[in-house]
């Protein structure tokens, strides 16, 4: 036991003496949480709009006013001429143009029918659709005010409730993804690199010649990263609860248990990579290409899985991060229990077992 402790102590020295690694280790989750939580939002706010108001009457003014006080829109300028619209779209970051014809108010009050034209820059189709809908809703609101007393007959009123994330925050979607990303990054990359470094420096041989059990070498290399990963997990969770207001609805214990499973899975993968590489460079490249990219691509937190072509969706099933992401989303956001995620847990468990056996086997083979 004493031997084991002195080994683990040494591993911690390695980690804490390498400031660049430390930065990666603890800076990355914080930066990711901050960026995803605040900067990379799917919320559409302050979209710049222009109006071309030929009417300049009370009705058009009021609608413009309603639009410009709305959080979604930011009134950039009023144009005099229809032909300027295209120019503005090409030159500026304008998302929407709204055109009121002459005699808008008069038509509305006397003919009971008036027209408004909305033009959207659809180079970003999702934003365009959302903005047109919001503008339409605001205009309809105004119309309702006018017809307050005469209700339309046969009215269907849909009542929409947003489950799990009523404010439609981006963070809810991202936090579980960041957890998967950071845990995998730390465990796979750091384990692989730290073992390969011992190989490169020749210290691995010395360790193997010593009476220290080779498998204990592996365990003592992995243990610090397990602890560091759990600390990282705690940081992410605390940040997301305090800063991003993303509460943990399910059991924290289950969350930690499932995360530990992923960590072990990632550690095995790191070991497997280290067994098959000779230089830190290759180990890094392999971990980045083999783990980081697929995690970003195939977990479904950055890119929607269901829109991918079928072959890619099939490939996504191979990566443990996808299953972990589903599990964490279920526990953290939906507040579900183990009964809802046992299938995913089983898959994760299977992958972990497979990787562990494979990596121990290759490690043993290397020992001969």
């Amino acid at each position: 036991m004493k031997r084991f402790i002195s080994f683990v102590k040494k591993e911690f020295y390695h980690v804490f003496r390498d400031d660049k690694t430390l930065l990666m280790l603890f800076g990355m989750p914080i930066v990711l949480i901050l960026l995803f939580g605040f900067a990379v939002t799917n919320e559409i706010k302050n979209a710049q709009i222009v109006v071309c108001d030929y009417a300049k009457d009370p009705a058009s003014q009021e609608i413009i006013n309603k639009l410009s006080v709305n959080k979604s829109f930011h009134l950039k300028k009023a144009l005099l001429n229809h032909s300027q619209i295209e120019e503005e779209f090409k030159k500026e970051n304008i998302k929407l143009a709204i055109v009121f014809p002459t005699n808008f108010n008069e038509d509305l009050l006397h003919l009971n029918k008036a027209q408004i034209q909305i033009i959207a820059d659809a180079s970003d189709p999702n934003t365009a659709t959302t903005l047109i809908n919001r503008a339409t809703a605001i205009i309809m609101d105004y119309q309702k005010q006018l017809t307050l007393n005469s209700n339309l007959p046969y009215n269907i009123n849909p009542e929409i409730r947003m489950l799990y994330n009523p404010e439609l925050k981006g963070a809810t979607n991202f936090v579980p993804g960041i957890m998967a990303l950071v845990l995998l990054l730390v465990c796979v990359l750091m384990t692989a690199v730290s073992i390969v470094r011992e190989k490169e420096n020749g210290t691995m041989e010395v360790l193997l010649v010593s009476p220290f059990n080779p498998f204990l070498v592996i365990i003592s290399k992995a243990l610090p990263f397990l602890i560091l990963s759990l600390i990282n997990l705690a940081i992410i969770l605390v940040l997301s609860v305090t800063l991003l207001d993303t509460p943990i609805k399910g059991s924290i214990l289950l969350l930690v248990a499932e995360s530990t499973l992923l960590i072990i899975c990632a550690l095995s993968l790191g070991l497997l990579i280290s067994n098959n590489t000779k230089s830190q460079q290759t180990a890094m490249l392999l971990s980045m290409m083999g783990m980081m990219l697929p995690t970003m691509l195939f977990t479904g937190f950055m890119f929607p899985l269901e829109n991918m072509p079928v072959p890619l969706q099939v490939i996504a099933n191979i990566f443990p991060s996808k299953w972990y992401y589903i599990i964490i989303k279920s526990i953290m956001i939906k507040g579900l229990g183990f009964s809802a995620i046992w299938k995913e847990t089983l898959i994760l468990l299977g992958t972990t077992a497979l990787l562990l056996i494979l990596s121990l086997k290759t490690f043993k083979k290397r020992l001969e």
Binding site: A39, K45, K91, N112, K113, I118, D124, P125, A128, N151
Partner: protein, 350 residues
């Protein structure tokens, strides 16, 4: 490797980064089982946006589908829906959306609302003879989508990814290559030869500049054009003029990273860190307008942001030189600043 990796990414990333909201799985809980409820359901499934995942009587059961991610949205049609609608002139529908993915949720809700509203109008027309003149004031809104009438999401994402790739190739490979020479020691050999320092730097940068141009061209003329059918609306001259300045700026960044890093490993981690921030803060996937002030400032000091804007403006909107004058000036500024810093730091360290 240098050529294949980016082009492969250009092929795969747009396939993956498809944020178009389609194939929304809907669970319908129908307590009414009337003609009206059936009509509404067929309207929804025929719309093209929704796939009927589940049809049943129990809201609890539908909620379970949501929990299992089998379904994204629930529509609950109350008992006596048809009857009440006709008798009492109004009725409610209940919609619950899985809002973990905010974009999908809000768009899904919007689409469903539109379908219901359209159906509502149909019912009204069936029961009331429309009067010749409107009795109440109504505003008719005509909306048009410019520059991308079919709302094809690829038009939006492919040019952006092209920029991201060129930025990655430029900064990453350039930094790694120079640090490798440092590590292997060949840089010292070069330093003792009569080659001038700026010759060395130019000699390093020019191949990567050409590679960047090449990758962009392949992406634009082969991948974007033939696979996604994107034909630039604006002038290629303007696009390439901007690209050449952007590449100088991004190579300067690579150079700057290489002056800080001692080993390839460090260069890799540092470059990776910055590239990730650059990508996330460039408006590639999400709009800059929604960002808080501090994030907006970071995004605005990111050269990638400007090129993504320019690419979208020129390729999709057909903007000309005079429209993006300011972008040109800013990018020239970035090119000067980054290269200046790199050379200053290079001088200092050697």
């Amino acid at each position: 490797m240098i050529f294949i990796a980016p082009i492969l990414q250009l092929l795969i990333l747009p396939l993956a980064a498809d944020y178009e909201v389609k194939n929304i799985n809907i669970s319908i809980v129908d307590h009414d089982h009337s003609t009206y409820s059936q009509q509404l359901i067929s309207k929804i499934t025929a719309s093209g946006y929704f796939q009927l995942a589940d049809y049943g009587n129990s809201f609890q059961q539908a909620l379970e589908q949501i929990e299992k991610d089998k379904s994204d949205i629930i529509l609950e049609i109350p008992d006596r829906f048809e009857e009440n609608l006709i008798r009492e002139n109004a009725n409610e529908l209940f919609i619950a959306v899985n809002a973990i993915n905010g974009v999908k949720a809000s768009l899904g809700g919007v689409y469903l609302n539109q379908i219901i509203a359209a159906y509502n109008n149909e019912i009204r027309l069936k029961w009331i003879q429309p009067p010749k003149y409107n009795t109440v004031p109504s505003i008719e809104i005509t909306s048009s989508y410019w520059f991308n009438q079919l709302l094809n999401y690829h038009y939006f994402i492919v040019p952006g990814i092209l920029v991201a790739l060129v930025a990655m190739v430029g900064s990453y490979l350039c930094a790694l290559n120079i640090v490798k020479e440092k590590e292997v020691g060949t840089i010292e050999q070069i330093n003792v030869t009569p080659i001038k320092k700026y010759h060395f730097i130019l000699g390093k940068l020019i191949p990567f500049w050409i590679i960047g141009m090449f990758v962009f061209s392949v992406g634009l003329f082969v991948v974007a054009r033939f696979i996604y059918g994107i034909v630039p609306a604006g002038s290629l001259w303007v696009l390439y003029a901007f690209l050449s300045i952007f590449l100088i700026a991004i190579l300067g960044l690579g150079l700057l990273i290489s002056t800080f890093a001692e080993t390839q490993q460090q260069a890799m981690s540092v470059a990776f860190f910055f590239i990730m921030i650059f990508m996330l803060m460039s408006g590639l996937f999400t709009s800059l307008d929604g960002m808080p002030r501090w994030a907006y400032i970071i995004a605005r000091s990111n050269p990638v942001t400007y090129f993504i804007e320019v690419v979208r403006m020129v390729i999709l909107k057909g903007s000309g030189f005079s429209d993006i004058k300011n972008h040109f000036l800013i990018m020239i500024g970035f090119a000067g600043l980054l290269n200046g810093l790199a050379i200053w730091n290079y001088r200092k360290t050697s």
